[in-house]
């Protein structure tokens, strides 16, 4: 997906994050933080030329992508393809080395992702401290990705 498309999603997700209550709405609030940060990760990978913004979209089965045009109403063709957008760092693995500053920026994203099993798919209680830690991780990751996106780009596109 093109960097502009990632940025458009980040803008709408950021607006939603501001409208939700971090505790009462924790599950979707943290998921929106994670989704926005993953879009920022992909934009940064494209910007530095680590991955390319192909026009097919990643499936939740790592390694599979779907074609953008449906093959039937509400059905899309799945395929193997050169990795473009990732769903998480390392899923699928990038062919090119991932710069250390992207791995460092993704550390906050990992903090958010680690809450999925325990507090979204699992039933551990959501506390004010947990939401604050998630918000800090989100702000840190987004600031770091924005710093990378402000660098001169190397993307061939």
């Amino acid at each position: 997906m093109e960097i502009a498309a990632h940025e458009e999603k980040i803008a709408r997700l950021s607006d939603l994050i501001g409208r939700l209550d971090p505790i009462e709405d924790f599950e979707i609030w943290m998921w929106a933080c994670m989704s926005a940060a993953t879009n920022a990760l992909n934009a940064a990978l494209h910007h530095l030329g680590v991955t390319q913004p192909f026009d097919y979209f990643p499936h939740q089965i790592p390694g599979l992508y779907v074609e953008p045009k449906p093959i039937a109403p509400w059905r899309w063709k799945r395929m193997f393809a050169e990795p473009g957008d990732v769903i998480h760092i390392g899923l699928p693995p990038c062919r090119a080395p991932v710069p250390e500053r992207i791995l460092a920026a993704a550390a906050g994203l990992h903090v958010i992702e680690d809450l999925r099993e325990t507090h979204v798919r699992g039933g551990q209680p959501v506390t004010r401290e947990l939401a604050a830690a998630c918000a800090d991780a989100y702000r840190g990751a987004m600031a770091a990705f924005q710093t990378i996106l402000a660098e001169p780009g190397r993307s061939p596109s």
């Binding site: 458009e8 979707i28 449906p70 509400w74 957008d85």
Partner: protein
Amino acid sequence: MTPAAHRAKAERIRRTLAKLRPSDYEMCIDGAMLAANHYVNMALHVLGIRPDDRDVIHTEFLDVIDYRRFEVAAKALVEAIEAIEELRAPFVRGAAPDGIAAGERALQQLARVEAEALRARPLAFPLLKYTPEP
């Protein structure tokens, strides 16, 4: 997680879904996916296909033998959850056009998932944990 805990979590996520706008379609889809998978786990536990301590993240990650059993026991439920999952790549991770319609579809399918999951009852026959010798 117990079936009751899954249902409570799904209902909590649904309360947040009610606050979203159509333009929040990525989280309409992923929120529906999260709530729906809690209903899926509730049904799997009630049916006896998976024990309470073995939740699944997505039906695609079920063992094939359990997936086949689930299709027979709750075909409409499997179809509805997979209709939600199908929307994630093109509209949540991708930029396919008409995301708002996709978000509405996800919420409609979530209502189907809930209705079908609440119909689940324990199977009349105990299920064998079956792993054939190669």
